[in-house]
């Protein structure tokens, strides 16, 4: 692999350092979050580090090939992604009542995580021509992208993995918005958006999912069940007070009052131990990171790069916002990892590859 010196020079060091900061915080936090497990933190940290190295390698691969070449092959990448998602449903490993993982060479991977950046490239490739023409999308124009979004959405919902499904839908919508929509398209989308919750409530949602929504509205409706997680989570966050209880001193997670505290509820661990101050710093790092993604989109060489970068920014934004809001009871409990912080190899690798795409786009911003 020959690396162009100019490209090295043009690497977005802001993004890299910002991302590394978040990652560093994530690893440190993981030590505390997993310290109460019988297997000890070490086991988790090693696994996460292996995923990091693997992700770093894949990131370099993603960076090496021009994003336009990657986009040209997006159909096949998409097909591969869909294949893996279907494979999960067939031979997936079940855990906690859901099939989300497949085992490859002893590693269990979660294809739905990889589906997020794949869909972003695939949709960008589909839409960038429209954006270049600067034509707002009509209903007919968005039909195809929506259909290709719904396919993985439905498959992922089947696992069931509502969280990832929601991320995919929201990312897809934000990309369409970014490309530009006709007024009539907005109208119809809002209309459908208004009815769909009722539809979903009556026909799609499973009782446990409804229960989560109900206990979100009234946290005391089921304090021993779904409300329990939410309640314990805000107790953890609130008990951090201004400066936090200190690294490794959180009690809520250590005593296992919060389930999934090393994955989806990881923010509670951080906030309990680092308090308001730490949380503000973490928020700032995320907002700054997302803002930097948007900058990359803004300064991208072409529309394709801009849409991809915006899509990646959306992934980060949607996951960060919903995850944190869930932890502080501003959103119902739903399984979405906090990017670069939550434990989970697939999520980390997927995020690192996304960053690879961003760097890919930013280093090639001056190319013609």
């Amino acid at each position: 692999m020959r690396i162009d010196k100019r490209r090295y020079y043009h690497l977005d060091w802001y993004l890299i350092l910002n991302g590394l900061f978040i990652l560093g915080i994530g690893l440190m936090n993981l030590i505390s979050a997993t310290s109460s497990f019988s297997s000890g933190s070490w086991n988790f940290i090693i696994k996460q580090l292996i995923a990091f190295i693997l992700g770093l390698g894949l990131m370099l691969v993603v960076m090496y090939y021009d994003y336009r070449i990657i986009a040209n092959h997006s159909k096949w990448i998409y097909a591969g992604g869909i294949f893996l998602v279907i494979l999960v449903l067939v031979i997936g490993l079940a855990a906690g009542g859901a099939r989300r993982w497949i085992s490859i060479f002893g590693f269990s991977i979660q294809p739905s995580e990889l589906m997020k950046p794949i869909l972003v490239i695939f949709l960008a490739n589909m839409l960038y021509e429209k954006k270049r023409q600067n034509v707002p999308l009509s209903l007919k124009d968005i039909a195809k992208p929506l259909l290709w979004t719904l396919l993985p959405f439905v498959l992922i919902l089947k696992q069931p993995d509502l969280g990832t499904g929601i991320v995919i839908i929201l990312v897809s919508f934000s990309m369409l918005w970014y490309v530009g929509l006709k007024k009539s398209t907005y109208a119809v989308m809002f209309g459908v958006g208004a009815i769909s919750p009722f539809f979903a409530w009556h026909y799609l949602m499973k009782p446990y999912q409804k229960m989560r929504v109900l206990s979100f509205i009234n946290i005391d409706a089921d304090p021993a069940g779904f409300g329990y997680h939410a309640k314990q989570a805000i107790i953890a966050v609130g008990s951090g007070k201004f400066l936090g209880k200190g690294f490794m001193n959180g009690t809520q997670h250590k005593l296992q009052f919060i389930p999934e505290h090393h994955t989806d509820f990881i923010f509670t661990v951080f906030s309990e131990e680092w308090g308001f101050v730490g949380s503000v710093v973490l928020f700032a790092l995320f907002i700054s990171f997302i803002n930097r993604c948007l900058k990359i989109a803004m300064n991208a060489h072409d529309e394709l790069g801009a849409i991809i970068a915006f899509g990646i920014a959306s992934i980060f934004y949607v996951q960060f916002t919903i995850n944190v809001m869930m932890a502080i009871h501003l959103a119902p409990v739903v399984g979405i990892p906090l990017p670069l912080i939550s434990y989970g190899g697939s999520s980390l690798i997927s995020m690192l590859m996304s960053i690879g795409l961003l760097l890919n786009i930013s280093t090639r911003r001056y190319m013609f």
Partner: protein, 601 residues
């Protein structure tokens, strides 16, 4: 690339980011700053549970240091409502694992509904080891259930000491309502309910400790943060004698009755037995409804301590009292004699002597030895009921003796004043005739008659009966010693006591004595039989048998009072018990091994 339209999109994005940051920060401010202290407290409560460490109750020893009541570890099942995840999973799961109905568990929970959900509810006490193992193995499936090892009261001699030692049981809801008296108690605590356990509750209870433990969401203890060790209760060293008590209890086992033995020189109670009895151990591990009903509804009233609560006419044992008073007043002397022809005409009826042919002409000695009724009819009439009442009251008969047990009952030795107060009627002389032989309106408990026997045994001085000798702290420091308290000390006319004592020695040791069959080898025992007509409720069941006694006849160290309900004759039913008590006391002492060999035979 940087057309107006698209930069406006970035403006929107920036707006969204700022908005998001604002919302998150407001919420965080609310949770961590505004409500931070409250949340911190909640998280502390979450992880820290205060658990009670029950103090071991004080031990009771007999006068030779043998353990009569102690504690042993027991496994108790607790349920903490707050830790339950799925109600039916935990409750049904537990009901399947241990011998306990679902309804019982729910009832227990309901009874505690006023307590905070983090308060553990005791579901079952003293579960067997196999249930402990089952529950421990299934802990994960029944969140909220925990097993605590706690001291449990243990009565090694079960029913033999039931009435005197009493029992402990869980403090009742009614008791807890009395906030003032029971302010130190909470549901599930044990409290002395009967006997010494109740009388000395304050000393025996000790002070419960506290343990602060960190628990996880399942309620499992992660680690102990700190412990305030419990302070065990003070132990009681009793005046009771294990061997004597067991002897008395064994003799009474198949009957209804009571036996009291007192050290006449101190008032220390050596024996206080009552039958039928009950097993106090049943109460200590949370009595089952069925067992309670069996005991409470038993027509024989096993919960009654006949020794201090059972009122019976004293029969001929009462004659000793009359003899004392009449001799002291000089109404009779040792030569005064009355003729007994088997009957005593008074008014328009004839009061009979128990011996059909009569005793002939008898003086006080023969009258006591042979228990001549006619002699005492005469003496009674000469004395008058008020003087009988007076001496009885001085000796501690009829009133409360002040024994250190709860719920002692009064008896009755009538007087003219009593009759006026009670019935607003004058006393009739004819009634005195009945009273003279311990019948009529006379009601006394076995402890009352023990006061009489100890008075004679100790040559005119008796003491308040006391069961507890001293209270000793867990470290072995004597906290309180109960010194003998004089009940009455009379300067009787010289020779009076000797006359009465000679008579009582004759009852057992002279030819024609009513308790001649109970003569003891090696030791001289003195006594007086009594046969009392049972009340109108128990017609046909036969008379009550009494025997009061002391031994050795000179310088006595034991004074007794035995009652056997419907035992027919004092001589045949009650006296042998006094005999075996005396034998036990004076035989077992020198060589305990020999006594054991005896038992094995």
């Amino acid at each position: 690339m940087k057309e107006e339209k698209y930069t406006s999109k970035y403006k929107w994005c920036t707006l969204v980011l700022v908005l998001t940051m604002t919302v998150l920060l407001i919420r965080l401010w609310d949770l961590q700053i505004m409500r931070g202290t409250e949340m911190r407290k909640l998280s502390e409560q979450n992880r820290i549970r205060v658990k009670k460490v029950v103090a071991p109750r004080g031990i009771m020893y007999d006068r030779t240091g043998k353990v009569l009541a102690d504690t042993r570890p027991s496994f108790n099942i607790y349920l903490t409502p707050e830790d339950i995840k799925d109600f039916s999973q935990t409750v049904d799961g537990l009901a399947r694992l241990i011998d306990c109905d679902r309804e019982d568990i729910i009832e227990k929970m309901k009874a505690m509904s006023g307590m905070p959900p983090s308060f553990p509810i005791k579901i079952k006490s003293d579960i067997p080891m196999d249930e402990v193992a089952k529950v421990e193995a299934n802990r994960v499936y029944i969140p909220g259930i925990s097993i605590q090892i706690e001291p449990k009261r243990n009565y090694p001699y079960a029913a033999s000491f039931a009435h005197v030692i009493g029992y402990v049981s869980e403090v009742s809801d009614d008791e807890l309502k009395d906030k003032k008296k029971y302010k130190d108690y909470s549901p599930g605590d044990y409290i002395g309910k009967y006997g010494l356990e109740r009388a000395y509750e304050k000393d025996l209870r000790g002070i419960d400790g506290e343990k602060r433990v960190e628990v996880d969401a399942m309620g499992r203890e992660i680690r102990t943060l700190d412990v305030i060790e419990p302070i065990p209760g003070n132990s009681l060293h009793l005046n009771l004698d294990l061997d004597l008590q067991l002897t008395a209890d064994k003799a009474l086992e198949t009957r209804r009755g009571a036996a009291v033995a007192i050290n006449p020189k101190t008032g220390g109670v050596l024996v206080l037995a009552s039958r039928p009895g009950f097993d106090p151990n049943l109460f200590a591990s949370g009595i089952k409804k069925k067992d309670w009903q069996t005991i409470a509804l038993d027509k024989a009233h096993p919960l009654q301590n006949r020794a201090i609560q059972g009122g019976y006419p004293p029969g001929s044992t009462f004659k000793i009292l009359l003899a004392l008073k009449a001799l002291d007043l000089g109404i009779i002397n040792e030569h005064t004699s009355f003729h007994c022809s088997g009957g005593f005409p008074y008014g328009n009826r004839v009061f009979k002597c128990w011996k059909k042919g009569g005793h002939g002409t008898v003086s006080v000695h023969r009258a006591i030895v042979e228990s001549c009724d006619v002699f005492f009819y005469n003496v009674g009439l000469k004395l008058g009921v008020d003087r009988i009442h007076e001496i009885g009251d001085i000796l501690g008969m009829g009133r409360l003796t002040g024994i250190d047990l709860p719920a002692e009952q009064k008896g009755l030795i009538p007087s003219t004043e009593w009759k006026r107060r009670r019935y607003n009627q004058p006393w009739y002389e004819g009634e005195t005739v009945s009273v003279a032989i311990g019948q009529g309106a006379v009601w006394l408990t076995p402890i009352h008659l023990a006061m009489l026997s100890s008075f004679v045994a100790n040559d005119g001085k008796n003491f308040k009966p006391q069961i507890v000798n001293r209270i000793v702290s867990p470290e072995g420091k004597v906290i309180k010693t109960f010194e003998p308290v004089v009940n009455s000390e009379l300067k009787l006319k010289p020779g009076v006591l000797k006359l009465v004592k000679d008579g009582m020695r004759g009852v057992v040791n002279e030819p024609g004595g009513t308790a001649g069959a109970s003569k003891v080898q090696n030791v001289l025992m003195s006594g007086k039989t009594g046969t009392a007509q049972a009340g109108s409720q128990s017609v046909g069941l036969g008379d009550h048998a009494w025997f009061i006694a002391y031994a050795p006849s000179e310088d006595a160290s034991i004074a007794m009072s035995i009652l056997v309900e419907h035992g027919l004759h004092g001589s045949s039913a009650a006296a042998p018990i006094a005999k075996s008590l005396t034998e036990t006391l004076f035989k077992a002492k020198p060589d305990i091994k020999e006594a054991k060999v005896h038992e094995n035979r």
